[in-house]
Symmetry: C2
Subunit: 223 residues, 2 copies
């Protein structure tokens, strides 16, 4: 990706790009790289080096927390056109928790390194505000997830997950029970049991490799 391409891509992030001077725009391009991550690859973690701000070009990133015992809870996903800010947590004084970021699909990401971003935050109030605004938006995402986990019964959460997949990708779902469990912050057994229950109710058909939604109306009654 040359400078012109970087500029063209980053200019789509209006909140970020439109408040930069010409000098700062060049500084940004000098400090960004286009990276490609394969499905499941870890991009950012508490112990490893702090990558920086991730502008997602294609694919999908998963942001999650992990307990000492390795239990994962997905906080939200970052989609093309969106920004991942927690991957620059080392330079964000307001962020005091450790989040992990993985590529969930093959993902192309434009990475602005943490050092450069930190320098820009200090010198440009609009960039500081951009950084804080991105956190505020993710705060709302996390609150949504938290309410799902704390308040919704699990059948409803699984139904919401299946329904969202149905809308996005159609009635055939190829996630493993383990992957669904991770995404919902639950255990594989719980997912398998609830899917079996949904199957008995005529909502889905479960085979070893996939889950097929066979009754959208019944599924929607569980939302």
């Amino acid at each position: 990706m040359d400078t012109k391409e970087k500029m063209e891509f980053l200019s789509k992030y209006d909140d970020f790009w439109s408040h930069l001077s010409d000098e700062e725009k060049i500084f940004v391009c000098q400090n960004t790289d286009i990276m490609s991550y394969h499905p499941g690859q870890n991009i950012h973690s508490a112990d490893a080096r702090c990558v920086g701000v991730l502008f997602v070009k294609s694919g999908c990133l998963r942001v999650y927390i992990m307990s000492e015992e390795g239990k994962e809870v997905t906080l939200y996903r970052v989609l093309p056109g969106e920004v991942c800010i927690l991957s620059a947590s080392c330079v964000l004084t307001e962020i005091t928790f450790d989040a992990y970021v993985d590529a969930e699909e093959l993902s192309e990401v434009v990475v602005l390194n943490a050092f450069a971003f930190s320098k820009m935050i200090k010198n440009n109030i609009y960039i500081e505000n951009f950084s804080n605004k991105m956190k505020a938006i993710r705060f709302s995402d996390v609150m949504w997830t938290m309410q799902q986990i704390l308040f919704f019964s699990f059948d409803r959460r699984l139904a919401i997950f299946l329904y969202e997949e149905l809308i996005k990708n159609g009635p055939i779902i190829r996630y493993s029970h383990m992957e669904i469990a991770k995404y919902l912050g639950s255990a594989r057994e719980v997912v398998s049991r609830m899917l079996k229950y949904f199957e008995n109710e005529g909502i889905v058909k479960v085979s070893r490799k996939e889950i097929e939604i066979i009754d959208k109306k019944k599924l929607m009654e569980r939302l």
Copy 2:
């Protein structure tokens, strides 16, 4: 509270106050009121009117979410010298969840009304940044709470609660089991059972009106 007193009080909030023009400072004073809330009084909720930004002068505010069935989970507390921003959620586009704010003790609060705050955010990038920065800080608070709830076993969470009370207010704790349960996002029965267990372990002495921490060392072993 007259204008001079308001100015003196608000000037302590440097992130907020130092970036205001003289005109804006007067505008702020015209749009603030000093309010007094009694223990347990609801200050902000999803359905009621949107109060605005709360600058806490004395006392303690509790910010929490509530399920449709009335289950509460405390997100964090706002102490003297701190700011409550979620009480202005109606004018904050990034905040899409409903939080509640109650006074936990008799609390004196300087309230900047939501309409005025919204106008200031639009006209002053430093105030927009102040608003987003406050959210980012609370994001971290909430993540801490979430990790406690999702990852820590309940005995550890209760021990942390008792230990924090010990440090703040000494060994006699006068919260009811119900209040502790609400604070920890649990049920009264669970708290009572765990307190009984702690009592059997010689950590606390539980009577009808209070909990006394009798062995600090044993308590600390559970943190």
